[in-house]
Subunit: 324 residues, 4 copies
């Protein structure tokens, strides 16, 4: 059976189409091209689509922004605003919606610190509602935020912390920010995925084994994910393809080897590489050298998108104004 | 009615004795003098003692170490070891005890960051027990650790986060580390209070309104507190006393003013100063300039004490070995 | 001789006028009132002015913004823009000016971390000029930035580090950001002083004994300072005044004591308090509890002002756009 | 001409021996095997050795500690003590030696933060010598420490900052701590190289283009380096070798392709991979997922080694005592 491991719905779809030359059944796709942003809205409609994609039924919006690697300020603002629009369309919140923002990941490892950085920068208001005993406000919505850390730091599963806090604070909506692994270095820090299915077992870097979704937490969970690493096996895999292709063209050699590799499915090849790689390079991450700058930029973009989409009094033109 | 506001049981007792020239009823006191450490074990026995002291029934152990302001390594180790001993006596843990260490306070404000710093440095093991599906171990006990942050950062009451996590992870014991306010600058970073009554409303700096005690959390709560600030009104109060005293001696003046002040109870005088001070200096903290160095030293001392007292395989002579 | 110790020229002037009921000789003062900002431009013209003020000859611009304690976003932007205007007027830079921004203070002590925080947030460009071997650019000026730390962390005098770096990198201009001590809690986080005289011995909190000025560094030095602490003696002094005043009004007592205090000059009274306070409370700082939030806001405001004033391609309307 | 790019002398030697099956001329090698530590002391004697090795004339001591990936406390102490011994032998310091410790690298990128972390943890004393106007002391040596940051943060070349500071503070010795790139994931966080040749152009990750050596700085420079990353091309290279080897054994295919690859020198193959990889994956780093924990452990080990070797009053048995 065809099963793909990637955090990004758009990559699952690509892989399926590569293999089968068909659109994934049970999946609806809508595309929008802007100057700097390509938006793909993938809707997994049913169990068949879910199985083929290896992902839960629901919406997956992907914003691809290749220039985000070296963004200028105009582009950062454009992406923030587009992110805010997509979020508003997806979550249908209003001024009474109580949101808990969860920053997943390890704040001590730069490429995994995206979620905690967003939590630091986003506008938090729930304590004002408590202090003034108000249920709603014309300009601000009720927002709380938490970075639960990772098991290596706390000894506690992330999901346990979040579920415990959700049961005590009863938010209407959870938005979880996470650093993802991509199959493709091109996507690192240039692709934003928003989904209304939460975060589900098996995906991503790290030991996030318990799903963070409505089923477990009892509240709708929006996941915002950005690839910040590729895993080592993926990188080796892609590079080998590139090298063999370039060798084939130039020297007409390696065909035998390459034919054998081609006979393998993508997944079998990946598994082979993973198997060879694992013993001497377990749990390796591959990330750009300037990852600190990238995480910094991305945390501003996401915090902007959240501030604008959640609070009735913050407008598209307020981009950057409420960043901490 | 006589009510004193201070985080330290030893200060409550001093204030009571100052006023009444008597030992507090319903309170048992035991003292031990060492070269560098004076240990006072205050046991509040009943409701009367609790009322007089303004504190819950239970044990309050105070270690006073005046030289801890400029500690050498010998002293730091001596204090770590003594702290470990006191903790072992108080908590009666064994190798099956599951402990959750809670680092209270705001990691962004140096004098309030003691708890989070201890959490960073202490040995966390619960995830190994989960990974290996073990219930106990000969050398390590099951320890998890969490810094819940403060309301200004999360919008969530500290107590809600802790209670949520406790309900999911079911520890047998909570140890909460907190930066305290003292009435006396002398005590800042030189006094350690350990108590088995948890942390109760009204005490300390910060918005920790919900008590963190067995009643609320359903599990015994040990509180380790160290004064890292004095509040401004306290400082003004003490300084005025000093100045007026020195003036009285030297110049025989100010007697009228001083007599009036003396006619006030300590609490009335404090309230007067607080009232005058508050409008133009609300929520002010007073702390030593080298507070970063002090917090650093104290976090090592406490993490050492915790490591030694909690884990059966870590011994008094292992001081400093397991510090991160 | 009349000598006042304060970091703020505006406070020196107030103290002089309080005592003498006259304007300070050798000093020119210009005021501008806006809705939220009061600007006082003090020019010390000659040696007499310098001596009376206890400050070097030069310009001292003070922006007082009482509402900056609880700023909304409009106010923060207004202050950033005004700061940029004042800087542009003062420094007369153009697109070829090479600026070194120096963030003074200890990044581990929250109220002293203002300078390092600004350095983190400001736009740094010098390495691009080096990489592309350009001398100038239409949109960006050549800006480098450094946080030298404090002696307790490095063992090195701040001035030595800066002078060493200046001699190697040859900037045309230094802008030093520093957290100041004020005599008045009201000013903490609400007053910004810009001066073209650098930072001179004796002023401020901390061991910055070597002056950071053109004489020592060979390059003009702009100092941007914001009070983030008051010293303990100041606070006691001010509170005692308030209390005695309120007592005088209400109870007609304390007059004798007060008369004696009144007979002392401000400086004598301060010295007396300092003397009493010092032995049991050396090197104490007094700061608002929410100092993390204040430092965060102020670092954004100053970094904005610097970005706008230094780079030809960044405009007043670009406020917040280039903040990291 | 045979030129190898690696930070580690031991790897240069291996590569040379692989290719030529000979010991490198102009190089003296001494080995010592302990239970957990293998020590290789490589001495490059002359220009020929330097050319063959691609490294400066001088001493390169490598400690290989495979178990350091998951160290227990005993091992950490053993390594600290061995490091201290090697340092003492190499630097011949005494109680009058003034040392400047330089922590190279970007504190915002976890695998590059080793140097700055060591600077945070090491004992700094120079300011006490200044304060007490002493030249020497029986127990403590004069030590200062600095983390100059990286060009992306400051806009200034690291070498310029260090040289500037050296000229102002006149140390007798510089010890520079740096995170290295290895050709081999096995070495990451398990190999420590100490050398008395400083840090020389071309080596390592990052833009450290100016050599930090006695020639430039005018003072002997000891470099302590630990691989914390491998570069992506290296990883692909090694993995391809592994895969092709395993395929050859199992399936007797790929021989044609492999023969072609074998015909290339190691360096040509590496260059080919680098060329293919670079366009779509520039400046990538590969690092273990638990790099935060590794850097933390390593910073303690190195700071321990420095404390023990530099200060006459700190002994081998004082390991861990002076760690901050």
């Amino acid at each position: 059976m065809f099963q793909i491991r990637t955090d990004l719905a758009i990559e699952s779809r690509e892989l399926y189409k590569e293999k089968t030359s068909q659109e994934v059944p049970g999946v609806e796709v809508n595309k929008e091209e802007k100057d700097n942003i390509r938006i793909t809205r993938v809707k997994i409609l049913d169990k068949i689509g879910a199985e083929k994609m290896g992902k839960a039924i629901g919406n997956y919006i992907t914003m691809e922004i290749p220039k985000l690697k070296n963004p200028d300020e105009d582009l950062k603002e454009e992406v923030s605003i587009q992110l805010a629009k997509e979020l508003r369309d997806l979550i249908n919140n209003d001024k009474t919606t109580k949101t808990l923002i969860v920053g997943l990941g390890n704040w001590n490892v730069t490429p995994d610190a995206l979620g905690p950085k967003v939590v630091e920068r986003v506008l938090v208001t729930r304590h004002f509602f408590l202090a003034y005993k108000k249920d709603e406000d014309e300009t601000m919505a009720n927002v709380s935020a938490l970075s639960p850390g990772v098991m290596g730091l706390t000894g506690i599963e992330t999901g346990e912390i979040i579920k415990g806090v959700v049961e005590k604070t009863n938010p209407d909506l959870i938005i979880a920010i996470d650093a993802l692994a991509s199959r493709n270095m091109e996507r690192v820090s240039t692709t934003i995925q928003i989904s209304d299915t939460g975060i589900n077992p098996g995906s991503g870097v790290g030991n996030k084994r318990q799903g963070l979704n409505e089923e477990y937490l009892g509240v709708p969970v929006i996941a915002i994910g950005i690839p910040t690493v590729v895993d080592a096996a993926t990188m080796v895999n892609d590079t080998m393809d590139l090298i063999i292709n370039s060798m084939k063209k130039e020297a007409k050699i390696g065909t035998e080897f390459y034919s054998m590799l081609e006979a393998l499915s993508e997944d079998e090849k990946y598994a082979l590489i993973k198997e060879v790689l694992e013993p001497f390079m377990p749990n390796t991450i591959v990330t750009p050298k300037e990852i600190d700058e990238l995480i910094n930029n991305l945390s501003i973009i996401i915090a902007n998108g959240l501030n604008i989409s959640l609070h009735p009094g913050i407008d598209l033109k307020d981009v950057n104004r409420y960043i901490r």
